[in-house]
């Protein structure tokens, strides 16, 4: 899962990015409105965390322009908890909002919720055969037993599970699992897939040669 955080307060941006990375997300950051819009339009993020008050374009303007091209779920961070501000955000196309000061746990929960909703899922549990994925706890069960899995491997499993039945290209996977700071090697993906097959069964992820990967 790859997330863009647009926030102009450097300490807040740094800690948000760090916390999200530790949650297993690939995180890109922008500290002003113009960079934020550029990133949001150029990459298929799974979600965007967007502050309202930004130098350059403000959050609402970014949202308005972004909605012309993309449906990326957006979580607004607003310092004003007046109803009209929240209404304005939601009406402009935000999927949810969090009022500053916020708890990280709430931000994470709301992020999971908007990502889940954008994939048309209503619960945190995805069951595929004998594999069960709990996206809230970030656990994977195989035959009802918890499986030890790395954050990156979990992200790969979750992404493929959310796009079940679709062929996900290697480019897509790179885009969603690695942020701009990762110097990803092309064979790193194959290593992760191979590790997952060892833990969850060889048939769990199918390879479509020349196209990508798929969970049936």
């Amino acid at each position: 899962m790859r997330i863009l955080v647009v926030e102009d307060e450097p300490d807040l941006l740094a800690s948000l990015a760090q916390a999200l990375r530790e949650e297993g997300y690939a995180v890109d950051t922008a500290n002003n409105g113009n960079d934020g819009l550029f990133n949001a339009e150029g990459t298929d993020y799974d979600a965007i965390v967007l502050d309202v008050m930004l130098p350059g374009l403000d959050g609402w303007e970014i949202l308005k322009r972004l909605r012309k091209t993309k449906k990326t779920p957006v979580l607004m961070l607003t310092a004003r908890d007046q109803t009209r501000d929240r209404v304005k955000g939601l009406d402009t196309g935000a999927d949810d909002y969090v009022v500053k000061p916020f708890d990280l746990a709430e931000v994470f929960a709301r992020l999971r919720a908007i990502i889940r909703r954008s994939a048309n899922k209503t619960t945190n549990i995805i069951e595929i055969g004998e594999v069960k994925i709990d996206s809230a706890a970030r656990h994977v069960f195989f035959k009802d037993k918890i499986v030890e899995i790395t954050a990156r491997e979990y992200a790969l499993v979750e992404f493929l599970a959310l796009h079940r039945g679709e062929v996900v290209t290697r480019t897509q996977l790179y885009e969603h699992l690695f942020d701009e700071n990762d110097s990803s090697l092309s064979n790193l993906l194959d290593v992760h897939v191979s590790n997952i097959r060892k833990k969850l069964g060889a048939e769990f992820i199918a390879t479509r040669r020349g196209h990508g990967y798929c969970i049936e």
Binding site: D8, E9, L12, S15, A19, E22, A79, R80, P101, F102
Partner: protein, 497 residues
């Protein structure tokens, strides 16, 4: 008990005045009518007295050269003169012949006919009408005769006023004493006139009652009409005190006294509403400014506590928290300073000091920031001693210089000038930046104003100029701003020396 309501009090006073006026008017009208009636009766009585007197023998003519009566015999003016002196000589028996043409004056067939009695000076009845006065008046007759006999006689017949008339019950009587000593008593029943007067009184009372009723009803309507705007005003005030500050009184008649009152109240309500809105906005802005540093502390600490960190990681978190706390401290100090200036509680540490020296110190202080931005500071300072709080004024100068550097174009310039024309210290700080939009100029000294609303970094809460203005005004000075698109912004401070 006087009612509390103005409406009823007005009504009460109005009713009382109306009753007094109507009673006075009715009484006067009644008296006039009564006097008119009695005057008519009295004239008839006098006429008949004259007829009767003529029917008696003519009294002996008086000589104009008669000896003057002693002065004490003169009656008081206006008094009916009396019969001749009691020591006059014996006269022959008096004869009385009522001429036939005059008998109709005493027609006995009329129940209200006139009656008369004529007595000689020896109190002997000479003649009387067939219809005598009712018996009970005989006693009264003597009273009148005695009264007349006691009075002194006037010798000047030409100045005789008509004989007096007296009312007794339903009868009006006129008793005249002739110069020759005879006494003529003429009377009549005035029962019809009295009944007529009673009817007049009833009519007057009835008309008065109707007028009183109409007056009270009209007065009540007028009072209700006059009170209505007051009721509207109080209803509006009630709604406002209930919390709806947007309510206004509907001013229908702006010219009337109540219209003017309503206009004044509306202006007051508008000022209240503005002040409340400003206060609310101020609190919201202050809360807003505190949200971001609190968010930093929360996310930093929550991230740090999510798992074990190395020393460097914890240090990073603590440093970020410290920055956030410093930012909050700065904001709180600014808010407190503003609150103290607002309440007039800020104590200025006044002393004589050289303002030019303070300004050059401040310029030195901000030089690193200017260097960082490539901005040059040009100072043109005339040494000038003024009385004031040097630290607070240094805060103002630093704030103006920092703004001039921060909102300048790259490699721009800042010009600081201190002069003292006409005894005032005039400080100007001009930058070569992009200027402030004309629409924003009036809000520059407002609280939480930022030229760029998103420029939240660097602990700039948009309170600097508001505090500067408060400091300058506490010194009895003024601060103004002038700005033009691309010609830069100039702040001018006037301070009493």
């Amino acid at each position: 008990m006087i009612p509390k309501s103005i409406k009823w009090r007005l009504q009460l006073w109005y009713g009382l005045i109306l009753v007094v006026v109507l009673a006075g008017f009715g009484f006067t009208a009644y008296q006039l009518e009564r006097n008119r009636q009695f005057h008519r009766i009295d004239e008839e009585l006098h006429h008949r007295t004259g007829v009767l007197a003529n029917a008696l023998h003519r009294p002996p003519p008086r000589r104009p050269d008669a000896e003057e009566p002693p002065p004490f015999d003169r009656p008081p003016p206006g008094q009916f003169p009396e019969a001749g002196p009691p020591d006059q000589n014996q006269r022959p028996p008096t004869e009385f012949h009522l001429p036939p043409e005059d008998t109709h004056f005493f027609d006995a067939s009329d129940p209200n006919a006139f009656y008369f009695v004529i007595r000689s000076r020896e109190n002997q009845e000479i003649a009387s009408s067939t219809n005598q006065a009712p018996g009970q008046f005989l006693a009264i007759e003597n009273f009148f005769i005695n009264k007349i006999n006691r009075q002194s006689q006037s010798p000047e017949t030409s100045r005789q006023p008509p004989p007096a008339a007296y009312s007794f019950g339903n009868f009006r009587n006129c008793i005249a004493s002739l110069p020759s000593g005879e006494i003529i008593w003429v009377g009549c029943s005035i029962a019809p006139e009295l009944a007529e007067l009673r009817r007049t009184a009833m009519k007057l009372a009835g008309v008065g009652g109707v007028i009183l009723f109409l007056g009270l009803a009209g007065g009540g309507w007028l009072v209700a009409r006059a009170i209505k705007p007051i009721n509207e005003i109080s209803a509006t005030a009630v709604r406002i005190s209930a919390g709806d500050l947007s309510q206004r009184i509907n001013v229908a008649e702006a010219e009337s006294e109540l219209g003017q009152l309503a206009a004044v109240l509306n202006a007051t309500f508008a000022r209240l509403e503005t002040a409340f809105a400003q206060q609310k906005q101020f609190a919201a802005d202050a809360a807003h400014e505190l949200r971001t540093p609190v968010s930093v502390i929360l996310t930093q600490t929550q991230t740090a506590l999510n798992r074990e960190r190395d020393a460097a990681g914890y240090k990073q978190t603590v440093e970020a928290c410290q920055r956030a706390a410093q930012r909050m401290r700065k904001l709180i100090e600014s808010l407190l300073a503003l609150a103290r200036f607002d309440a007039g509680q800020e104590v200025l540490n006044r002393r004589r000091f050289d303002l030019a020296k303070t300004i050059s110190d401040c310029a030195e202080l901000v030089q690193p920031l200017a260097d960082e931005r490539g901005v040059k500071i040009f100072a043109e300072l005339t040494p000038l001693e003024i009385t004031g709080d040097s630290e607070r004024l240094a805060q103002v100068v630093t704030n103006l210089l920092t703004n001039a550097i921060q909102y300048n174009r790259p490699a721009g310039e800042v010009r600081v000038k201190l002069a003292a024309p006409s005894g005032m210290a005039v400080l100007t700080v001009a930058d070569s930046g992009p200027g402030i939009a004309a629409a924003d100029l009036p809000r520059v000294f407002g609280r939480f104003f930022r030229a760029d609303p998103a420029r939240t970094g660097a602990g700039n809460a948009g309170l600097g100029l508001a505090i500067s203005k408060a400091i300058i005004e506490a010194h009895g000075g003024t601060i103004e701003v002038a700005s033009g698109e691309n010609t830069g912004t100039t702040f001018t401070v006037h301070l009493p020396a």
